[in-house]
Symmetry: C2
Subunit: 117 residues, 2 copies
C-alpha cells in the first residue's frame, strides 16, 4: 500500500507484427511519436533520433512530462515503445488506433504499466 | 517459456534518499550517465538534456544499444533511471557504487528488470 501517488507513470508497449517497411525508417516512427504527443497534449522540448544501418530506428523525445521513446527491430516486426510521464494518461484507448494507423492494422500489442516511486 | 532471447534488456532503477543539491542540476546527473556509459562500454550517439525550473532535471542519451534516461525529483530526493539495451549488462555490481558516488552514500535503490520481446 502506498499513501502517496506515484511520481512517474511508465507505460511500456511491446508491439509485434508491425509492417517491416514502415518501421525501417526513422521518419515513419517519429510521425507516430508526433501524433501521440499531439493527441495527449504532451509538450516536446527536444527530439533525438537515429537511423540504424542495415535496419532499425530509435527516436526519443524529451518531454516537459518526462520522455517518450521508440526502438524498432524491422527484422522481427517488433517495436518497443515507452512513455514515462509525471502525469497519468487519462485514457489509453486512442493509442491502439494510433498504433494501428502507423504500424499496421495487424499488430499485436502487449502493454505493461509501472508506477515509478 | 520463451525459445528466443529477448530483444531488449530493460533495467529500471528507482533511487531514493538522493542528495537534493546534487540532483537539482542537470550537469551533475549527466556526469553519472557519462560514467555509466564509460564503465559499461555503451556507445553514446546523441545526448539530450533539460534543466527544469524551479527544480528537476532530465537527461536522455540515445545509444547504439538503445537508450539511457534519468529524471530527478529533488524535492523528493528521488531519481528514476532507465537503461534499455539490446545487450544485457554483464554485471550490475559496479552500478551501485556509481550511484552512491554520484547521488549520495545514503541512497536506497530499487531495481526492476524487464525483458522486452
Amino acid at each position: 500500500m502506498h499513501d502517496k501517488p506515484p511520481l512517474g507513470y511508465h507505460y511500456l508497449w511491446d508491439i509485434h507484427n508491425c509492417q517491416e517497411q514502415t518501421i525501417l525508417k526513422v521518419d515513419n516512427v517519429t510521425m507516430l511519436l508526433d501524433e501521440i504527443c499531439t493527441t495527449y497534449s504532451l509538450t516536446v522540448l527536444k527530439k533525438s533520433s537515429n537511423q540504424f544501418a542495415p535496419h532499425g530506428a530509435t527516436a526519443i523525445y524529451l518531454l516537459a512530462e518526462s520522455h517518450l521513446s521508440i526502438h524498432t527491430w524491422p527484422e522481427n516486426n517488433y517495436v518497443a515503445l515507452d512513455l514515462f510521464s509525471c502525469v497519468p494518461l487519462k485514457t489509453v484507448e486512442e493509442l491502439e488506433s494510433l498504433f494501428r494507423k502507423h504500424l499496421g492494422n495487424g499488430i499485436k500489442i502487449k502493454e505493461q504499466y509501472i508506477e515509478r516511486r
